[in-house]
Each structure stands twice: as C-alpha cells, then as structure tokens.
C-alpha cells in the first residue's frame, strides 16, 4: 500500500511545554487512521503541524512523497489536504452554499465558481444540508455546523481528510448518522485521519489507531490491539475497570 502521509520525529514546543514529542507514523492511502489520547495529549497540535498552521521545531512531514514541513496551509490545500476544526468555524455571514463553494473553488482542483456551485450542491445533498443551502451559515445549529465543516472539506475533493472531533457535541442519533457518513466518505476513496473522543465510534471506524499521551506516541495498532494494550489502559483510561466496561461495549 502507498504511504500518503508520513511524519518523522515531529516535535512542537510551546515555551517549555513539549506539546508533540518525536512523533513518527505512516498513513496509507485509503485507510482510516484514528488518533486518540487524553485531553491535552497534543492531538490537535499534531494536526496543526501536519496542516501547516504550526511549523514543527524538529522533524519532517511528507505528503504525497513531498517534504511539506513548514508549508503554509493554503499550499497543502492545493495539494489535496482538507481538514475540519474541532471548534466549528463557519463563515457566518455567507450562505451555507457559499461556504462549501470556498472549499471547492480553492482546493486542489481550483474550480471556477460555476463548477464549485455544482459540487457544493452535490456535497450538501450528500450530507443532508441541501434544504439549508441558502441560509446564512451562522444560523445553523451545532450539528448542522459540524456537517458544514465536513461539507467544506469534502467539496475540495481532497486526497487526505483530517477530522478533528467531528462527533463531539452531537447526540447519539447524530453520532450514528455521522459515523455512517464517514464510512461513505471512505468508500469514495478518501483517506482519513481522525481525532475522536467517542470511543465506540472510533473503534468501529478505524483500521488502525494511534495513541498520544503527553505529546508522545505510546501505542499504535488495530482497535482490538489498542483496547488491550496495558500502557494505553493505564495512561489513557487510568481505571482498569473502566477499560473492561469499555471492552465489553465493543
């Protein structure tokens, strides 16, 4: 299988705090790779390094066999990388359709507006937001805004999709819908790297899982392996009984 994204010993510090410490991993084309870890483990910081928002202090990042370390986010978008934000960032005064058109028009394909509008309508249909297309994005509720984040990223027709907690803040029904949506996105051939706290979902979706703790990669493996990994249970879950319950749930 082809490696789509590879990091080598990535380090990101904030003053004295080492937020990401020597993280190396590979992401293969077509897979869903989960990224989990306790709060403050450095997951979003790692995303920000990959996506060009931060420049890592050490280490290298390769995307599509190109060294992209320190590239600006727009350049990565032009190479086919898209992401959603944990805290939704709708372009509030633009319509839902216009939001999604931005994703399509400025992604790898650099579509003209007319085509971007067509893609936007398709994506909105796919995500069930079509009835809201002409509404201002600021007027959507949280679940809809989460979908809008996803719609914008998808409209770019990316090769790699970084999902930062798209399930957070959704009720159980909405979570199930979103999980189903993510599956369908993968079926379209898009590779996904996702941060998630909803365990049931990430264990179900991921082909492999990475575990971060205090900025370090402490485990890597299939969901089953991760669920039984002693160190993960200790570091991530703390209480072993909780881990058993969590294993039963699976």
């Amino acid at each position: 299988m082809n490696v789509l994204l590879r990091t080598e010993n990535v380090v990101k510090r904030f003053g004295g705090l080492v937020a990401v410490n020597q993280v190396s991993f590979e992401l293969y084309e077509g897979e869903i790779l989960g990224l989990i870890g306790p709060n403050g483990a450095g997951k979003t910081t790692l995303f920000n390094c990959i996506n060009g928002i931060y420049r890592p202090e050490e280490g290298r990042i390769f995307f599509r066999d190109t060294d992209i370390t320190g590239w600006r986010p727009w350049r990565l978008a032009h190479m086919g990388m898209a992401r959603t934000f944990q805290i939704v960032r709708p372009l509030a005064e633009l319509t839902v359709r216009e939001n999604v058109m931005v994703g399509a028009a400025f992604g790898e394909k650099q579509m003209p507006l007319r085509q971007a509008a067509k893609i936007a309508d398709e994506v909105l249909e796919f995500l069930g937001l079509a009835p809201r297309a002409d509404q201002l994005a600021g007027s959507l509720n949280v679940a809809q805004k989460k979908r809008l984040e996803l719609a914008r990223a998808l409209a770019a027709q990316p090769r790699l999709l970084l999902l930062d907690e798209v399930l957070a803040g959704l009720n159980p029904t909405e979570v199930d819908e979103m999980v189903e949506t993510i599956r369908r996105i993968r079926e379209r051939g898009i590779t996904i790297l996702m941060i998630e706290h909803v365990m049931r979902a990430i264990m179900n979706l991921s082909d492999r899982i990475l575990v971060l703790n205090f900025g370090e990669l402490i485990a890597e493996g299939t969901p089953e392996e991760i669920a039984q990994n002693e160190e993960v249970i200790r570091a991530y879950l703390g209480d072993p009984k909780l881990a058993q319950r969590f294993a039963l749930e699976e």
């Binding site: 996506n51 032009h78 934000f85 005064e93 633009l94 319509t95 028009a105 400025f106 914008r152």
Partner: protein
C-alpha cells in the same frame, strides 16, 4: 437562490441618476453637487473593497487620495503631462504604495491594522511636507495657462466631472465583479475567518494585498481629478484624516460588503452633511455628528442599511447585492 439582474442594475442606476442629472440641467451648481456626491460614492465604494469585502478597517484611505492628487498635479503642473496620463499615474502611484506597504501591514489584524493605517497617513503627510519637488509645506499651484489647453477653466470643470462620473461607473462594475467572482469569494472568506480561509486553500496574503491595491487605485484617480480642478494642492488639504473617517462612516452606513450599500451610504451621508452645514446650530459640530453616527451604526446596525434589509427581509437578497 437565483440572483436577479436588478442586483446589478440598481447600483448602476443610482450612479447614473446622480451623474446624469447635471448633464441634463447643464447647471454649474448641479454639477458641483453631483461632483461632491460622486466623489463620496467613489471613496466609499473603493474603501469597501478592503473594508467591506476583506474585513480590514483602514483609516488610511485618504493617503491614496492625497498621493494620487500630488503625483498627478506634479506631472501636469511641473512636467507638462496630459491630464489623463497624469491621472492614471496618480492611481498607479497610490496602488503601488498600497501594494508595497500592504505586504507588511496586512499581517496585522483588527485594531492593530487600523492604528498602523493612521500612522501611514501621518507619515506620508510628514514626508510631503519635506519633499521639495512637491513644494514642501506650501504645496503646488497650477498655472492657469495649463487650463487653456483644455478650453479654459470652465471646460476643465466639465471634463473633470466626466472623468469622475466614468470612474464612479467603473467602480460599480468592479465592485459587482468582485462580489460575484471567485476573487471576491476568497476575500469574503478572509473577512469571515482568515485562518479557516487559508486552510481551505485561499492564498490569504496575496488576496489581501490585491484587494488593498485595487482599493487604493481609485482614490488615487479621484484625488488627481479633485486637485487638478482645485488648481492648488498642499499637504494639509491632501491628507485630512477626517475624510478617511467619513469614508468609513459612508461604507458602514450603507452596508459594508455589499455593492449598492456604499453608494447609498455615500449619498446619504453627504446629504446629511449638507443639512448639518447649512444649519446654524449644527454647522460647527458636523464631524462630531459623523462620529456619533458611526457609533450608533456599529452598535445597532453593524451591517448598515442594505445589510440590515438583506437580513431582515431575506427576499431582498435577490436584488440587493
């Protein structure tokens, strides 16, 4: 939602109505009134490109007006250039200044950017004060013989009026194009959330710089026109900070980020100004009223008149752009 053809025709009709009026009546007074209105409209519509579409509040709009005025004036009065070429150079000089400083100051956001733009204006004024080719503190005056080539002072007043009218129409076309183009969508996304826009692939630094450059080109032309017909130019007249502030008020009053808003705001504000200036009680505090107006707009209708209409009555979005 299909956009109605009126979204384009309405702003065009507003400018045509103002601009054609004195051509019909052929009265000097009407021409001067229309000149003031069109100048306000042009300053507001051009400021709207950086303020309304891109979301960067610039208090330095008048610096481009003054610089364009100076460059064109110098080229006509001292170098003997034909007016149209000098005017074009005035616009180019203003755009060039914006391009050069934009790369640096557009990294700043919010209040920091706004503060620096005031500094740019004051720095430019100080520079011109000490720049001898432009006459230093006393400025330059036009030899009336220059006007002979254009058929005398009266003909110059009409010719410059036609130029301004043409620029105001051009600005409607340009802002309509921006609002409906991919470039404009990029600018709007920067206004809404610059970081999110960049993550989606918008080359934010480049987009902002071009928006600023385009926004500066037009006041450069307008300044060239104004000071050519004014027959004199001096630093104090060329870089008055209050004109920048009034331009912001006009944009905010009509509706930032819309095509027709700054036109309505420009005309509305000038109309109010005339009312204040002719009122014996209020004529000395007309700028204070402008300040209070800005405060009220920001507090109660930050989207301006057109923005408010668009929000309150979504059906108007089809034809109000």
């Amino acid at each position: 939602m299909k956009r109605s053809v009126w979204s384009f025709l309405l702003p065009l009709l507003v400018v045509l109505a103002v601009g054609l009026f004195p051509l019909v009546t052929q009265k000097d007074l009407h021409r001067e009134t229309a000149f003031t209105l069109l100048r306000a409209v042009a300053l507001a519509a051009s400021l709207n490109i950086i303020l309304g579409f891109t979301g960067y509040v610039s208090f330095g709009h008048v610096v481009f007006y003054g610089l364009g005025g100076y460059v064109a004036f110098y080229l006509v009065a001292v170098k003997g250039w034909p007016f149209w070429a000098a005017m074009l150079m005035g616009g180019v000089a203003a755009a060039l200044l914006a391009y050069l400083i934009g790369a640096g100051i557009l990294r700043l956001r919010g209040a920091y950017f706004a503060l620096v733009t005031i500094g740019v204006n004051e720095a430019m004024k100080a520079f011109i004060y000490n720049f001898q080719p432009f006459g230093g503190p006393t400025g330059l005056t036009m030899n009336f013989a220059v006007y002979k080539a254009y058929g005398g002072p009266k003909a110059v007043l009409w010719m410059t009026y036609y130029w301004l009218f043409a620029i105001a129409i051009l600005l409607v076309l340009v802002t309509y194009w921006i609002r409906t183009s991919k470039f404009g969508l990029g600018l709007l996304s920067i206004r809404e959330d610059e970081d999110a826009a960049e993550v989606m692939g918008v080359r934010t630094a480049r987009f902002k710089t071009w928006a600023f450059t385009l926004s500066a080109f037009f006041p450069g032309l307008v300044g060239a026109i104004f000071f050519f017909r004014n027959a004199s130019i001096e630093p104090h007249d060329a870089f008055p900070l209050h004109v920048s502030i009034e331009s912001i008020v006009m944009v905010m009053l009509g509706g930032q980020g819309t095509v027709i808003g700054p036109l309505v705001g420009g005309i509305g504000y000038q109309w109010m100004r005339v009312f204040l200036l002719t009122n014996p009680l209020l004529k000395n505090i007309q700028l204070a009223v402008a300040g209070a107006l800005l405060l009220l707009i920001v507090l109660f209708i930050p989207a301006g008149l057109v923005g408010w209409l668009r929000r309150r009555f979504p059906a108007t979005r089809r034809f109000l752009l």
